[in-house]
Symmetry: C2
Subunit: 351 residues, 2 copies
């Protein structure tokens, strides 16, 4: 044991976007697992479920009926975490107890009228409709002056707290920039200052493309999907445009199609990895809707919890909560596993 081996020895890696460390203990994959197992997903869903409040024509919690939509469908969340109107908060701040009122809007975006689909089984043109809907929502919300930031995301699977399997995502728009994008934006801004106007993520894409490419999963003309050097979740990926794009509305038609292509291929590989409907939280970071953010670099994070199989996940608990996030396999190993997956969905494979 005279030379350091990244596949065998413990090390920590630095995330320059969030400016924090992740501990990587690759030998830990040899540990037997006797703990909790996720219940396997029920795989057979009907195309239409009369009890689903997201299916076309069905009744929602607020009593209204969904239209008979045929593509995507966006509507306000009946249980919104933030609302557009509430009284102003009196200033009760002191040194230690700091608080701000938060107004905003929460939307639900159905990805498809079909109850049984997910992005992994949808076509590129169907997914392009989702990308277009995201861009439209972003632009519509940008018109409301009090809204500063639009967070687009998807929770997929019961393991990720999703309470309805109908394919859908969410959007929470708020009058402040939330914590995580705020930290990333500060990193991008600072990097630009320190690096002669360079962009952290543009440079990172180049860095990954130049050398061994060991963390690249797939590419197309406009985007690349990488297991980032500092990935925290076992099969976390980062989808990045190859050129500097600040937000969805700045993308050309071709770039939106290429983004849809990436989404299809990445989610399909995810499903094929353990032959299950792969759970994740996914979301977009891009420029806030008010002000100048030329240093923002559009990107999309996938945070999937599964580690060893369809039923054994990584728990970010204990040391991870109180000390530092810890991962078992290396990002390079994860990328190799994802590269080895097919882009034909396992359900549709010919035998």
């Amino acid at each position: 044991m005279s030379t350091f081996d990244f596949n065998n020895h413990s090390h920590r890696r630095y995330n320059p976007l969030t400016r924090s460390w992740v501990l990587c203990s690759p030998h830990r994959t040899q540990r037997p697992w006797q703990g909790h197992r996720e219940s396997a997903q029920i795989e057979k869903r009907p195309e239409y479920d009369p009890t689903c409040y997201l299916c076309p024509g069905n009744q929602r919690a607020n009593g209204e009926n969904n239209p008979s939509y045929t593509s995507t469908h966006s509507f306000p969340n009946d249980f919104a975490a933030v609302k557009s109107e509430q009284p102003a908060m009196p200033d009760t701040n002191d040194d230690l107890l700091r608080v701000e009122g938060v107004r905003g809007e929460c939307h639900v975006i159905c990805f498809s009228p079909r109850h049984d689909l997910t992005m992994a089984e949808m076509s590129v043109s169907e997914i392009t409709n989702i990308v277009d809907q995201w861009a439209t929502s972003y632009q519509d919300l940008a018109k409301k002056e009090y809204i500063k930031h639009v967070q687009i995301f998807e929770n997929k699977g019961a393991a990720m707290g999703c309470s309805n399997p109908h394919p859908h995502g969410q959007l929470w728009a708020t009058e402040q920039i939330p914590e995580e994008p705020q930290v990333e934006l500060e990193s991008l801004e600072q990097y630009k200052k320190d690096h002669n106007d360079g962009c952290l993520l543009c440079n990172y894409v180049k860095r990954e493309q130049q050398k061994s490419q060991e963390r690249i999963v797939i590419e197309n003309d406009s985007f690349v999907c990488i297991v980032p050097f500092w990935a925290l979740w076992p099969f976390e990926t980062l989808v990045l445009p190859k050129e500097h794009i600040t937000s969805l509305p700045k993308m050309t038609k071709e770039q939106r199609v290429d983004l849809a292509d990436m989404l299809r291929r990445v989610t399909c590989r995810y499903d094929n990895l353990f032959e299950c409907s792969f759970p994740y939280s996914m979301g977009i970071h891009q420029a806030p809707v008010q002000g100048e953010y030329d240093y923002a670099h559009f990107h999309l994070h996938f945070y999937p919890p599964l580690l060893r199989s369809a039923t054994v996940r990584k728990f970010l608990v204990g040391f991870e909560m109180l000390g530092e996030p810890q991962r078992d396999l290396t990002p390079e190993q994860a990328a190799a596993r994802l590269r080895a997956c097919s882009e034909v969905h396992y359900k549709h494979r010919q035998v």
Copy 2:
């Protein structure tokens, strides 16, 4: 709706220890829950389980037998995330790919020989043995020069990734200060500079004691248990000494007993809240083991995931991962709920 109501209107609160924000949407507790349910814990465990690798006398993964211990028992983790010896890492750092080797030690600390107990059902003197063991381990590890930090924690319950219900905690000692305590230490150091040598946590204890006390759960002579103003998990608590204590070895015998008393009472209230063995991750933040950290203020975090019942947890996913952590009930409501719980364990209640 002309005045702002903390129990009804969305707001965000600032955590001065981690310097980050938490979104609070109290009206969201009215949302129906149709998602994942935890499996109810198997409540009846034997006092001794012949298949448990933590029970006295049984064989461990490395082939050795546990001693017939009668109080606590500490031993090196057979699947350690960090090891005391590994080759030095060559310097491969560049601007975007930063990495460090991490050496250290991982220990397991059995809390009791009894397989069927948890702190919630143990006596104060039994829990004092745990506190003493923590202090001893901390001091022993401080003698190893390369170790900088000792992270003591417990994952309790399958929902928190714990793979063996035998009551035990862990300790991961590392040659760097991990991310989370590092951030907290920087906050404490900065606060001290900015506030005339004052301590953020000493001042916070006073602030909570002076006014309405609405976030205080319980107190004894030496400690107070608070649902912090910035709590992220639904029933998160912070156990703080009332005077400035930097680390476990600095505590008097009485203070250690008082800490054990707090641990018993808090965990018992937790179990009684939903009448189940309440899952959580818990851990201690204190001074690192090398160097001068007079600004460190010993404290203990409880991060429990349950939200509504023994089977419905809070998922920190989607918006929480990509935007900002979000909580449903207010910290003040959580504190009131915990204050209303008994300190007699529900299993031992006379009917």
